[in-house]
Amino acid sequence: MSHGATKEFKVTWGMVIDLDKCTGCGACMTACQVENNIAPMVDASNKLRTLSWVLVFELNNGKSGAEAEVAYLPRPCMQCGNPACVPVCPVVATEKNEEGGIVSQIYPRCIGCRYCMAACPYHARYFNWEDPIFPKGMEKALSPSTSARPRGVVEKCNFCHTRFMQAKEKARQEGGKPNELADGAYMPACAEICPTGAISFGDVKNKEHKVFDLAQGKDAFRLLEKLGLNPQVYYVSKREWVRKLGDNYAATGKPGAAKKHS
């Protein structure tokens, strides 16, 4: 298959998440649900049936007392450069084909086979187990950004793609270049709302965008880098244990060392 082959784009939207700034407050998860019309669930404690396009994981260093450390890791879709989910879809309901490198997911096309979910090691893909049922009246507060999905289809974070479209429209209106958006012209809801600004967003190939440098910083890493999926989401932490945990300790050359934490 197409593994190992990363499709290159002139613009590559990427996220850099500073784990040393994420307090785990959850505002990103809420903003994401609001932007993307995810219906609230009565029992959201059953995490095996929820829809969380961005999910904040809790990581710990396994120590106790004053040695104990915790880090929160928001996990959106990684928009992999070499996505595992795209080639497996039997009906082309997901593709990575558009300038910007965002992996799309088209709900009216999806047949709900869940093969892409089986393919994604980040668990970024979610299945609509039920039709979206909003408490009475709450459908008046639906966001115009994302169509509501029926049950039986897969969905995932798309970096609030509609905001990308809107940014391009605005650029057109103002006589700017829609294909060369300025830093900050396009921001996903999670990045915009984060009260500590832990989430930076921009074109990782554009020197004018601050994520360009951030993604190359010495403390930057990507999750499961060794799998070769080439994610467009980068994480930054000055804490070594966090960085090492991100790739199964592969960086240390000590395979399996992460087992204690799993």
Partner: protein, 409 residues
């Protein structure tokens, strides 16, 4: 009562007994049917599947029955292409078993997808890169082939065969059966392989991911081999089970042993490569991504014993038993080896489906557990019941076993 419909010169149980039997099986069928309708009405939220286990019992079941149904294409290939004539004694049965397995698998797949009404999108908007597209294409086409192979047998029904047109149609179809067998072999090889390929390409699932040849990961070939290494013997097991049930001899042991030999040979090749593949995976691939062999297993239900059971007890052992003539020619040993063989292949499909997605890939994630619920079990049960019903009907009314009359004099 329905004697006129029996195959020439064959005895069958009384109609009352048959109705009772069919009623008993239908109870399971109807219960599964209820679950299926519920699933169509409410969606697969009624099953035990979840965000981690998008694939579960259904996919395992599909893969297993498709592998076990491989007896149809491989026996057809040997009979019609390689002209091993002795296989005519069992070829009808392989076709019926194949038909049941594939039609059942198709039905389960329809339930399994979230939007069954869009199932045909696989043809309308195919993604040629997806192994699943290949599977969808091949298994539906192959099901057509199986139906074409099944039709002449139906037309040979005593009363139908009296109609000259149908008689001739059946005859002509028989004459051209080699063509269909050929097409079937091609389609079947590909989708058996694609089913393996489906897992082998999962770059994000280290338990399943494999390097490979050209676009095909090694699992592609391993799945083909394991299917042909188990399908023929599964047919033998079905045949023997029917003999026990009906108390009549249906296929001579020589033919069964031949099927055992065929399966055994293929299984041996398979086990050889499977061990090689596992070794390379554990020693080369896993370390390259920062993982270890030990990390692939957890506790009892995801423990190493499962893998060893699959490869050694249910792989190597039956392979040796089946290729050793002295063991193979002992009926009890042949059947034991057959059962082990079929269990091994099913276990293989289970591990690739469930274990590979149960394993935490994110280093801070946990092993996940999955138990199929009643809706999944009962719908699988429905397929099995469907198989029993079809088998019972065909056995009663169609001349499935050419040797039966001679052997039961």
């Amino acid at each position: 009562m329905d004697r006129a419909l029996f195959p020439d010169g064959l005895e069958r149980c009384s109609f009352g007994k048959f109705v009772l039997w069919m009623g008993f099986i239908s109870a399971f069928f109807l219960f599964g049917l209820y679950a299926m309708l519920l699933i169509f009405a409410k969606g697969i939220v009624v099953t035990g599947l979840d965000n981690y286990f998008g694939f579960g019992l259904w996919i395992t079941f599909d893969l297993a029955v498709i592998a076990l149904g491989a007896g149809a294409f491989f026996t057809g290939f040997l009979k019609y292409i390689l002209k091993i004539d002795q296989l005519k004694n069992i070829i009808n049965l392989t076709v019926i078993v194949g038909f049941i397995c594939y039609s059942g698998a198709m039905l389960v797949l329809t339930m399994d997808i979230g939007q069954p009404i869009r199932a045909w999108f696989g043809y309308w908007h195919p993604n040629v890169h997806s192994m699943l597209t290949e599977v969808i294409f091949c298994i539906t086409c192959y099901l057509l082939v199986l139906i074409i192979e099944f039709v002449p047998l139906v037309l040979e029904q005593k009363q139908l065969n009296k109609i000259p047109f149908l008689h001739h149609l059946a005859h002509n179809m028989h004459v051209n059966m080699a063509l269909f067998a050929g097409i079937g072999t091609f389609l079947s090889t590909f989708h058996q392989g694609s089913l393996g390929g489906m897992y082998g390409v999962l770059q994000g699932r280290p338990y399943a991911f494999r390097e490979g040849f050209f676009i095909w990961p090694w699992t592609f070939f391993l799945f083909v081999l394991s299917a042909v290494g188990s399908g023929p013997i599964f047919t033998v097991l079905v045949c023997t089970f029917m003999e026990k049930l009906t108390g009549r001899k249906l296929v001579d042991f020589k033919t069964k042993a031949l099927m055992g030999k065929i399966a055994g040979t293929m299984l041996t090749v398979y086990v050889f490569f499977k061990i090689l593949d596992t070794w390379a995976w554990a020693n080369n691939y896993l370390p390259s991504i920062g993982m270890t062999f030990d990390q692939m297993f957890y506790g009892n239900i995801y423990g190493k014993p499962l893998m060893f059971t699959e490869i050694i007890l249910c792989g190597l052992v039956p392979a040796i038993m089946l290729i050793t003539p002295s063991i193979r020619n002992n009926p009890a040993m042949l059947y034991t080896a057959g059962i082990l063989d079929c269990m091994g292949v099913s276990l293989n499909r289970y591990l690739f489906t469930v274990q590979s997605i149960a394993m935490p890939i994110l280093p801070f994630d946990k092993w996940q557990f999955y138990a199929p619920n009643w809706a999944e079990w009962s719908t699988c049960g429905m397929i099995v019941a469907f198989g029993f019903l079809v088998m019972s009907m065909t056995y009663r009314y169609l001349p499935v076993f050419p040797q039966e009359q001679g052997m039961n004099k």
